[in-house]
Symmetry: C2
């Protein structure tokens, strides 16, 4: 494998609740003149899935708990917003530096439970949650797009996240379908023929980051990127999404 | 920007100490029939820079301190290897889970100070350090490759690293030249015309991760990847490498 090509879908429409996202993606692929082949990876920003799944919450409909009210005072944040973060999370990990870092119900460690106020219709009192079950959404889109084009495609759902120890955000995989998220080279040889002990590569995160270069975070309106040339057949057939580490397996915790 | 193309240099030779790496890359680009254009990003795995800079260390030449000997007993590791890790590091951050996580002299948080024993000529007692000054190496290669092709290229030096909270390794930027590592969208608009408060994107890490898909970690022998189509002109002209966060700016520490 020595070539990869990434193509962002141009003129992708804004997504509304209950839109048929798979059909919109299929139509946009056709409008962009892209020839879908088996092995193509369709990378989709979580935000359009959340919108289509109507994951909007109005702050005024939220009754904050005493804990959320107290934390809101300390952090000078709207207690209803804090309540929504708590509802989406297993636990709050840190509120140092005026930032709420949580273990999300989905297992991810992220800021504000991945709830974002940019690129949603800006009413001050509306926020957008992550998709309820990104893996299920990924499988659904993957099977509908594969069926429409009669090709064996893979699909990755992404979100941009901050990272410990590094500045800025990068795009990460939230879910994947029909592609391994993690490959283990254990038992393969290195260039001198020595057997590798254990090297697991998070290819779904690398594919997500690559697509992030075209998705952008601002006004790009490019939430769907097609990656051509990635040969998953080189790797294991296990396509479980296992990029989330438990605390007792996390080398850094 | 809606297209990116990544090309790994095929048949790249094994690198020996004191090789002229820029000339080898230039020659390989020509042999691969690649037409270098201004704006192309040349992504180089740190390992071939380390080899060319002869960053090999023989364990038998290392006299471990008492601290290294004691830690070696606890971790059941060669004390000379631990001494080398300590020499390369500002401090050891954790030795839990039988893994040595350090703050490297270069500021990165990584395992074993980025010292790796795979893909080096396997004598049991030789290890390979990171390049002494990856930013200087990046600038040197960038200017020599730009001059040879008479094109304004950018260059990124990468390494694969584990991450907190996530499984597996991905490719990260260790240094960059003639391209911003981090871009700040603050003040730009989102798709609804709302002004973004602050979103910094670590584009050098996303470019590194993208290249990592072709570099691999095993027997691929593809340590150099050319990325075409990335339009850095969209972004700030500040090309300092600032992906390392100090402890007091790290949201997670």
């Amino acid at each position: 494998m020595h070539h990869l090509k990434l193509i962002a879908l141009k003129d992708f429409p804004l997504i509304e609740p209950n839109d048929d996202l798979a059909s919109i993606i299929n139509k946009s692929i056709n409008n962009n003149g892209i020839n879908i082949e088996s092995g193509d990876v369709v990378v989709v920003a979580q935000k359009i899935i959340s919108k289509c799944e109507n994951r909007y919450v109005e702050l005024k409909n939220i009754q904050p708990s005493k804990e959320a009210i107290d934390l809101g005072k300390i952090l000078e944040r709207d207690p209803a917003f804090i309540q929504i973060i708590q509802n989406e999370s297993k636990k709050i990990i840190s509120t140092k530096k005026n930032v709420i870092i949580v273990e999300h119900n989905l297992g991810f460690i992220n800021i504000n439970a991945g709830i974002d106020r940019s690129n949603i219709l800006q009413k001050d009192d509306v926020v957008l949650l992550l998709p309820e079950n990104p893996s299920k959404s990924a499988r659904g889109l993957q099977s509908l797009i594969s069926a429409y084009f009669q090709k064996d495609i893979a699909l990755i759902v992404t979100d941009s996240m901050t990272r410990p120890y590094r500045s800025g955000v990068t795009n990460f995989a939230l879910a994947s379908a029909n592609i391994p998220s993690l490959i283990d080279l254990k038992g393969d040889s290195d260039i001198y023929g020595n057997i590798l002990q254990s090297t697991e590569i998070a290819i779904a995160d690398e594919l997500a980051a690559a697509a992030g270069l075209l998705m952008g975070q601002g006004s790009e309106k490019q939430p769907v990127v097609i990656i051509k040339g990635f040969d998953k057949k080189n790797y294991s057939t296990n396509d479980a999404f296992d990029l989330v580490v438990d605390e007792d397996e996390d080398l850094y915790r």
